[in-house]
């Protein structure tokens, strides 16, 4: 029995009668082409979603970060060799970040980064056969919000599904927290979050708030927010 949009699907289920635009159907995570024509094979458990006109994906659990081109991530420098740094972004292998990929960096003037420092970077390339590469500049060689993050801040790891919820425009959590505290936050698609505020106490409170919200469903987050106020 083929699954339809909105159903809960598990690996092995088949989706038939796809909507396509000019013969093209776009698939997101958890879906792969099936031997039969115009069919997709589900490879992850979750809810089948569809966006008009031709985009399908499965909304399910993801635990381990898998690098994707263009993702903004928070990483920790773990190795430094010559002009290249190795950065832990939580995926199966370390990503590389050239020291020249910072705004205004030249061979003589390189950013002063040490092992253990935190950076906010963008994935320039992420190919499963190759090491992923990070940059801290956009295509105009401007840093924008990217670059080294202050060591006064605090890095925590949260669930990947929670990252998506936090980044949702409708999510009230960060707005609500912002009314009470003054803080900076960098949320990486890899589940690492960097938080900084004026004093350690506030930072810890923010961290606790995020951890508490992680366990709650979307509706309850609003409730959590109210409690915090």
């Amino acid at each position: 029995m083929p699954a339809t949009v909105g159903d809960f699907v598990v690996p092995g289920d088949v989706i038939a009668d796809l909507n396509s635009l000019n013969g093209v159907t776009l698939t997101g995570p958890g879906l792969h082409s099936h031997e039969e024509h115009n069919c997709l094979l589900v490879t992850r458990a979750g809810t089948l979603c569809f966006k008009s006109p031709n985009i399908y994906w499965v909304e399910g659990l993801q635990k381990r970060y898998y690098p994707k081109k263009g993702d903004l991530v928070v990483g920790i420098v773990t190795k430094k060799a010559g002009n290249i740094m190795k950065v832990d972004i939580g995926s199966s292998e370390l990503a590389c970040l050239p020291l020249l990929a910072f705004e205004g960096a030249t061979k003589k003037q390189k950013p002063d980064l040490q092992v253990g420092d935190v950076v906010y970077a963008r994935l320039l390339s992420a190919h499963r056969e190759m090491e992923s590469e990070l940059v801290c500049v956009d295509s105009y060689y401007k840093a924008g919000k990217l670059g080294p993050l202050s060591s006064d801040g605090f890095v925590m790891t949260i669930n990947l599904n929670f990252v998506n919820r936090l980044l949702d425009f409708n999510c009230p959590l960060l707005h609500t927290l912002g009314k009470k505290y003054v803080f900076e936050v960098a949320i990486g698609m890899n589940g690492k979050v960097w938080i900084n505020s004026h004093n350690v106490n506030d930072t810890l409170n923010l961290m606790i708030a995020l951890l508490a919200a992680e366990q709650e469903s979307i509706d309850n987050v609003t409730k959590v927010c109210r409690q915090l106020m």
């Binding site: 809960f8 690996p11 092995g12 094979l41 992850r44 199966s92």
Partner: protein, 219 residues
């Protein structure tokens, strides 16, 4: 979880708790009757250079007995579980990385292979690694009188003339693994297979309901 309304064709109660460990990417505590295992999955993670495969992920399985170090009997379970994982995972999506599955036996009161395979599938589902299909395992025993007992406990299977363990996929319910002990004839084998196949349907439903709840809470 009642499969068929006949006392000896009833499965023992299956219970599970997902995400019981914080470090692994997917973990589950699964109990079938008094048999309990914990399964944990890490992956895809960094791979040792020796084991690196350039076209797919290397799958490593470890079966830990309740006490002591793994013996040669555990190696047999390990190799069966590893083969099952390798076929059910879409390992081509994760080249140059490794997927590690650890099964820790907590209590063995019969049907440990079935329980381990089911726990392993649950943990993989929970970790969000891509799979081609789900797998479910059921066991049954044939006693001296020629009566079949589904999902036997240790007492029953020790006394039995033959024991059967089957693993099926959820697409066409084909046989992925079959492991037997004792002697039997072809007709009995066919009957055992049909019996376990029916029981596996219930396990597939169980996977689905559990994961649905889990995902509804998390996403």
């Amino acid at each position: 979880m009642n499969v068929i309304d006949d006392n000896n064709l009833l499965m023992r109660k299956v219970n599970c708790k997902l995400d019981i460990l914080s470090r692994p990417d997917g973990s589950v505590l699964l109990s079938q009757g008094d048999t309990v295992v914990i399964a944990g999955v890490y992956g895809p993670i960094e791979v040792k250079t020796q084991k690196m495969l350039i076209n797919k992920a290397s799958v490593e399985t470890f079966y830990r007995p309740k006490s002591g170090t793994p013996g040669i009997g555990d190696r047999l379970y390990e190799s069966i579980i590893q083969n099952i994982c390798e076929t059910s995972l879409v390992s081509a999506l994760y080249p140059r990385s490794s997927i590690v599955v650890i099964i820790q036996e907590m209590q063995n009161y019969g049907g440990i292979i079935s329980c381990a395979v089911n726990a392993c599938c649950f943990a993989l589902l929970n970790s969000g690694i891509d799979m081609k299909f789900l797998v479910a395992s059921a066991s049954c025993a044939l006693d001296d009188k020629g009566v079949f007992h589904l999902d036997p406990d240790k007492l029953l299977s020790d006394k039995a003339k033959a024991n059967f363990v089957f693993v099926f996929d959820n697409i066409a319910k084909r046989i992925i693994a079959s492991h037997t002990s004792g002697s039997f004839n072809l007709a009995q084998y066919e009957e055992a297979l049909e019996l376990c196949k029916k029981a596996c349907d219930a396990i597939f439903d169980f996977y689905k309901t559990k994961m649905k709840n889990e995902i509804a809470n998390k996403v």
